[in-house]
Symmetry: C2
Subunit: 290 residues, 2 copies
Amino acid sequence: MTKLVQEVEAILDQTLPSAAVVPEVLHESMRYSTLGGGKRLRALLAMAACAAVGGDLGNTRGFVAAIEMVHAYSLIHDDLPCMDDDDLRRGKPTNHIVYGEALAVLAGDALLTEAFAELARMPEKYGISPEITVRVILEVAEGAGSQGMVGGQVVDIAGQERELDADTLRYIHDHKTGALFKAALRGGALLGGANEEHLSQITRFAESFGLAFQITDDILDETGQAQQLGKAVGRDQSLGKQTYPRLYGLETSREMAKRCVEECHEALHTFSDKAELLRELATFIIQRDH
Amino acid sequence: MTKLVQEVEAILDQTLPSAAVVPEVLHESMRYSTLGGGKRLRALLAMAACAAVGGDLGNTRGFVAAIEMVHAYSLIHDDLPCMDDDDLRRGKPTNHIVYGEALAVLAGDALLTEAFAELARMPEKYGISPEITVRVILEVAEGAGSQGMVGGQVVDIAGQERELDADTLRYIHDHKTGALFKAALRGGALLGGANEEHLSQITRFAESFGLAFQITDDILDETGQAQQLGKAVGRDQSLGKQTYPRLYGLETSREMAKRCVEECHEALHTFSDKAELLRELATFIIQRDH
C-alpha cells in the first residue's frame, strides 16, 4: 500500500502544472494543497477496484490524479472562512491561511477544472477508449456535483447548530464523502474493464465503505489525537455538527462501523483474490487512528 | 438572434436540476444566477461556429448549456467579497448577497461540475460521438482552467492597485474572457464537424473577438449607463484595475476594437454565407451598449 501511495504522489506531481508555469502563485497554491500528504484513499480505492475486476493498474493513472485533485479542491473550499473556517489540514496551515481567500477559491476552482482536463486526456495519454473515458467523466461529475459531494456539503452547512435526525445525517455522509468514494470505485472498475455485475457489487461495496469511513471519522473526531489527525479534535462538536457518536453513542457507533465492513466483504464474495487490496482497505478503514 | 437566445434559455432551464430537487436551496441558487439574464454570448458563439462549418445546431444543445453554466459559475465566484466584491450583476443582487457566501461558493462549484456532467451526457442525450465529446470536454476544461480563465482571474486580482503594462493587461483578457470564448467557438465548430483548417480560422476569429469584446467592455465601464450595464459603472477604476482606455485613451481604444472586428471578418473570408451569424456577432460586439 505504501508503494501505491508513492506512485499516486508521483503521478500527481507529474500531472499538476509546475510552479514555474504562469500564473506561478496559482500553481504553487494548487500543488501546496494536493501534494505531500493525505491517505490517498480515493486513489487507492480506484486502483483496488481496477485490480479487483482483473484490470491493469496502468489504466488508472490519469483517473487517480483527477480524483485526488477533486478531493483536494473540496478540502480547500470546505476549509474557507465562510464554510468550516479551518486553519489546519493534514498538519499544515490551510490554503487560505497561506495564500489568502481569493487564491484559495481559485486554486480549488482550478483543481476541479484540471481534474476534468486530465480525465479528457486519458485517451491520448493512456490509451483509454473515448467510450470509457466519457463514462468515467460522468461518474466523477455526478459524484462531485449538486446531487453528490457538493449537495452533501450544502446540507452539512445548513445543519450546523441544529439537531439533525438520523436520515439527514445519513444523507450528508452518503453525499459529502460517499459519492466521491463511489465515483473512485466505479471509475476504477470501469477502467479495469468491469461488467455490469461487477459494477453493481462495487457500488454495494462503496455504500458500506463510505458509511464505515464516516462513522470512524466521527469517532476519531471525539477520541483521536490532534497530532495524528493533523487537524483539531472536537471540531465537529465545536461547529455544532451532528455526529454518529452524538446520535448513537460511541459503542454503538463502533459496532455500526464494524457491521459496514462486514457488508463490504460480503459485497465482494464472488470476486477472486485479485480483490484482496479492496478487502484490506475495508478492514483498514475502521482500524486507522487518523 | 433573439430566437436563439430564447432557445438557450429553454435548454438551460431543462438542463439545470429543478429547485424542487434536494438540496433545494442549492438548485435554487444555481438557477438564480444562470437563468433569466445575460447576453448568452458564449452560447451564441458556439451555435454560430457550428453553423459556420455547416453543422446542425441541434448538436450544440448540451454544449451551450454547459458553456453558459461555466460562465455563470465564474461570475458567482468573481463577485464574492474576497474577489471583486460586487453586489449587483445583470441588474440583480449577486448570488452571495441573496444566498450567503458559503452557498455562493458551492453553487459555483456545482455549476462547474454539472457543466462537465452535461458534456459527458452528450453521447446519450444528443447522439454526439464519444470521440468528439472527449475533445469538446478538453477544450472547455483547458479554456476554463489554471492556464485559461482561472489563470486570467488570478493575474487580474494580483494586478489590482498596480500599474500594469500592456502585455499583462493582454494576458489577463486573453485568459479571463478570451479563453472561454475560444472554447465556445472551437467546441461549437467541433460539434458541427469542423476540419483542422476550419478550427485554425475559428481560433484566429476567437482571438480577435475576445480582444474586441474586452476593449469594448472597458470602454463601457467608463462611458456606459449603470442601468443598461446592469452593474455599477466605473467599477474597474474604483478597484484600481488597469483598462484599455486608461492605457491608450478612449479614441485609440475604439480604433483598436474596430480593427479587431475587421480581423474577425478576415479570419472568416473562406467561409460560406453559413458564417453570417458569426460575422454579425463580431460586428455586434463593439456596437453594444451593455
